[in-house]
Amino acid sequence: MNSTDIADPNYFHKVVDCQWACPAHTPVPEYIRLIAEKRYTDAYMINWHSNVFPGILGRTCDRPCEPACRRVRVEEQPVAICRLKRVAADYKSDVKNLLPEIPKKKNGKHIALIGAGPASLTVARDLLPLGYEITLFERDKLSGGAMRTQIPRFRLPAEVLEEELHYILDMGINCRFGEEVTSMKALLAEPYDAIFVGTGAPVGKSLDLPGHEEAAENIHTGIEWLASVAFEHIDKIGKRVLVLGGGNTAMDCCRTSKRLGGEEVSVVVRSGFDEMKASPWEIEDAMNEDIPVLNFHVPKRYLVEDGKLVAMEFEKVRKEYDENGRRLLIPTGEDPVILPCDDVICAIGQDNSFPWIERDIGIEFDKWELPELDKKTFRSSHEKVYFGGDAALGPDNIITAVAHGHDAALSIHLQCLGQDIHERPDPLTTLASQKMGIHQWSYDNDISSDVRYAVPHAAKEQTLNDLSMEVELGFDPELAFGETMRCLNCDVQTVFSGPLCIECDACVDICPTDCITFTENGEEEDLRQRLMAPAENKEQDIYVADGLKTNRIMAKNEDLCLHCGLCAERCPTNAWDMQKYLFNTAKAVNA
């Protein structure tokens, strides 16, 4: 193998698994250390700059960082990264004086944002401090988009939502709420320098089965029903509720139903329990509220008596795989299952919808009715029009929308500067030694072997009776500290210098996870098998360094490194050093 190019900004970034997995690439270990030091405000601001909505995301994020956490590979559970983020938000002090200043003198550029969800608000947040004038269109009367309409208040309290929306809205946005944009052509005729579309995926799918027409009054689509609850147009539901679908929207629908008078609420899914799309913790929360999940039930028809929905008929199926490994659902031949119900909520997916974008104005759409985009710049085929969030690439999550917003804001800024929007600035990185003394590091390398701490919940008897009472109480500072100590500090990198090494094996002998090997060089496949312990996780790199006196190489398997720094502590020549790698994506302000 060739020697590893550690100057490549992606090399050490990839070692920080959580940050690499995060769409917005939030520097996770850095803020976790700050929480351990009780520097909640600083931890919050790191988050705010990166993911814009720390308090919201600390409660609602899909947490792609957690399955990526290295801790999963040395024990069972990842660090509770998401809930630690919430700790920073819960315990911070006033941050208003830390927010960027908005120049009084504007730069003369005017941007229109459509849809006041996370993507658009991120664009606004990135561009306002640069002197842009922003006009924000929103068909609802309030901002927040899916964060407001699709996430129930018992998961995301109103005050948390409002606080973080207002950090941005108060920067001085020309808000045009309650105003639906009906023609892109008309908007393009106005003198905006760029238009950003962040309208989400606003159309819920319904299930058109026999009986639908007669029972329509009691058949709801998930996201629309949740929005109506959020805007208090709906405040009750029947006693027996069936929620169809296995995603996070279904989990929010069933739990909301329980709070609006639903007594027997069930989730029904076509496929297997383990194939459900919802996050495991959301399924767990629903089941903790005594909501059963019935799997392998395919809905067949709505049963109506006297013009009113009374039940739904399902066919029972089982799972089989065909010769191509495709999963098939085969009817078991048992009698159909009749589940009595008063209301049915279909939470089986949502679609993009752009009826207001004329098809003859230079914005091209693909066969899925999604805009044709450059996935790096988020510019559409029209040079002034950008998309982000669910509107860009289909339904995803808040943190992805934020990441799109950052990228689109950077593109818009480059465009307004008259530069090539494809020439992106490099990420902002620093790599600095953490050595303080022979056995002293600036970070706490004594990793806790505690198992993951559970977040305390409020009593079910209370929460089920109050639609807006938050279920999760969040970590208190003590629990949070315990959890922070589980973080492996993967951003503190093991940096090796071959010419300094005397090949004494001290690092090899001390490494708790057998990451380090000194051996003859070879092809990667071969080398992976010849290490102190085989390196079978191909997604994780082997750090190769040469320059040794014996002409061997140092090969370090990044996969299981605990970043405990013992290699560097035992190294007599400082050939190993622990160096903190801070990585931040370039945003508009860095162009």
């Binding site: 004494c504 002998d509 312990a533 006196k549 405990c564 013992l566 007599p572």
Partner: protein, 351 residues
């Protein structure tokens, strides 16, 4: 913040041996030696060897004297027996322990000061008495614990860190052991575990006195470019007279070793040592030949390593003394006291 314990997390695919333990289960407390000390690599090699052989920790006894070297029994096999004795007197303790219980594996750890200076007499006699044990010397040619004076194994002309030159020829414990009748003599280098681990396994399986002289650089006081015991000189000048693979007795030999395998030596417990060709055409069965080669390489400034000499058939102390099969410490009063009738009989012969 400072000096943490080694985290207990380990590689998930770390193999377990025949008694269900991983290598990590054979570790001891965290070392307090200088970072980069060769002795830590010796600890690691012993840990690896014991794990690979599936040794039951309670069947091992570690004995040592005084010095940096003699601290290391703390750093491996923490679930084994141990005795940290007086300077240079480990051989006496080891002899006593072995007489009392011949069924344990004995690992003696000593250094060049402990064995070649203050304990040289004891060393000579334990070799001569053929105690069944593995005796290892962590040899760094310097008194590290007293900050770097020349030791008795420092080569003629080798210099201390402060520039003092050795005026005398060194005591070579390996050739001394061969001369005095050790039946297994090897030399290795702490930096070369590929060589050291199988030698330790073979030495533990060998019945009789097994001796390994391990060049183990003192990273703090004797690792200069002008020291013959530093990492640089040892990496450049150690030459393997023989390359050894070790197959424990319990392990069924299913694979045929590569064609280069020159010779198999079956040890008393059924384990097998495979000697590989190294291009030196070295035969480790002849004392004269061994001494000749070691000295010839020494003249060139090179360090002969590998298995230097072996005689698997030589009897150990208990065989020489024709002791009973049971270890002494398990003999009951009944077995030790022949009874009044026998005593009367013996007395009768003196009348």
């Amino acid at each position: 913040m400072s000096y943490i314990n080694k985290p207990r997390f380990h590689h998930p695919q770390l193999p377990t041996n025949e008694i269900g333990l991983t290598r990590r289960d054979y570790e001891g407390t965290l070392t307090t030696l200088c970072g980069g000390c060769g002795h830590d690599s010796i600890s690691a090699a012993i840990i690896q060897a014991a794990a690979d052989m599936s040794l039951e920790p309670h069947r091992v006894a570690k004995v040592s004297g005084i010095g940096c070297s003699s601290k290391i029994p703390s750093y491996f096999l923490s679930k084994s027996h141990g005795f940290n004795s007086v300077h240079g007197r480990m051989p006496s303790v080891a002899t006593g322990a072995n007489l009392a219980n011949k069924d344990l594996y004995y690992i003696g750890i000593s250094g060049d000061g402990d064995s070649a200076s203050i304990g040289l007499g004891q060393f000579c006699h334990i070799v001569r008495r053929r105690i069944n044990m593995l005796y290892m010397v962590a040899n760094n040619g310097t008194y590290g614990l007293t900050k770097g004076q020349l030791s008795a194994t420092a080569d003629l002309g080798s210099k201390t860190k402060t520039g003092e030159e050795s005026l005398y020829d060194n005591i070579d414990l390996a050739t001394l052991a061969i001369e005095l009748g050790a039946s297994f003599v090897a030399r290795s280098f702490s930096g070369d575990k590929q060589q050291l681990v199988p030698l330790i396994q073979a030495g533990l399986s060998h019945k009789g006195f097994a001796f390994i002289d391990v060049v183990s650089p003192c990273v703090t006081f004797n690792n200069t470019d002008f020291s013959t015991h530093g990492y640089k000189n040892t990496w450049e000048n150690h030459i393997a007279l023989s390359a050894v693979d070790f197959v424990p007795m319990r392990q069924e030999i299913t694979t045929s070793y590569e064609a280069g395998a020159e010779k198999e030596i079956t040890l008393h417990d059924g384990s097998v040592i495979h000697l590989h060709k190294t291009g030196n055409n070295y035969q480790p069965y002849d004392k004269e030949n061994a001494l000749h080669h070691i000295n010839a390489y020494k003249k060139e400034g090179r360090i002969a390593t590998g298995l230097l000499y072996i005689d698997p058939s030589m009897s150990d102390l208990h065989e020489v003394l024709d002791t009973v099969d049971k270890p002494f410490n398990t003999l009951s009063n009944h077995e030790l006291c022949p009874g009044n009738e026998v005593l009367m009989g013996i007395n009768e012969t003196f009348r």
